[in-house]
Amino acid sequence: MSLETLISAPQNVAVEAGYLAIRALKHLSGSIVAPDTPFGAQSGEARELAERIVHEIEEAENRPLTDLSRVRVEYHISRIGEIVHDRMRKSVGIDAKRGDALLRELRNKITVPA
């Protein structure tokens, strides 16, 4: 399964479609419903892409989403998550040193009550 559409979609469409497809997989619902529309007109495009992703998974697995095993569900969730993360990494960019410094700051400054 290539998930080529997820790789080539505009960034906000890809991140929203990945999120929606993961939710459908998690609940084995087979249907895509957006709880809100944070990306305006691109939200509709994302919903359509998420539906295509679910369809692509069902075709590759030769069964409906509702019949997938937990192992296969987790495989597809991981794969979609990796593609979306990679897309964001390439388009937004990262600064590893700054990421480490911010993590140190957050670990030290923001505490959770015991």
């Binding site: 991140v15 999120y19 998550g81 990262i94 911010l102 959770v112």
Partner: protein, 166 residues
């Protein structure tokens, strides 16, 4: 059905600190009044145990305790944080640089940074802003699930259950 008293939500430490640091202390949460579906009477057990805050917390905790940075639960949370950052950027809440900071944090985070936290939300504090989750997105059509898109830190408690360290 009467309104619940308390809503519960299992989230990760990383999602929590990003909300505190970058989103003015506002948090996006899915929540339910049923902390542990198994504790309900059998006729009321409509939420699969795997979808209750109790089980989400324990499942995520087990994955991060094992150091499984690549577990599906961690990847799912990671995707939610990325989506949140992109949505906040699109809404103008954060800048390009802040979105890059969030991505840099995610890139460098360890498995333990994805450890679970439990949010305890008095329903009265969110009555006017809470929305019922779309039926198609719930773990079960009859389960009671809600979304609070911008939950201020002052309106909930955060608990880290004493299950032990890594």
């Amino acid at each position: 059905m009467t309104d619940p008293l308390i809503l519960y939500s299992a989230n990760t430490w990383l999602a929590y600190v990003i909300g505190e640091r970058f989103y003015r202390g506002e948090h996006y949460v899915w929540c339910t009044p049923d902390f542990d579906a198994r504790s309900l009477a059998s006729v009321d057990q409509v939420v699969p145990p795997s979808s209750s805050p109790s089980e989400i917390y324990r499942g995520l905790y087990e994955d991060v305790r094992r150091g499984d940075r690549h577990s599906a639960k961690v990847k799912e949370n990671n995707a939610g944080i990325l989506r949140g950052a992109a949505a906040k950027r699109a809404a103008g809440v954060i800048s390009d640089a802040e979105q890059r900071d969030i991505l840099s944090i995610l890139e460098q985070a360890s498995g333990w940074d994805f450890r679970p936290l439990l949010y305890v939300i008095p329903f009265d504090r969110v009555r006017t802003v809470v929305e019922a989750a779309p039926v198609e997105l719930r773990a079960h059509p009859l389960s009671r699930e809600y979304i609070v898109s911008r939950l201020p830190r002052a309106d909930f408690d955060v608990l880290e259950l004493p299950l032990g360290g890594p």
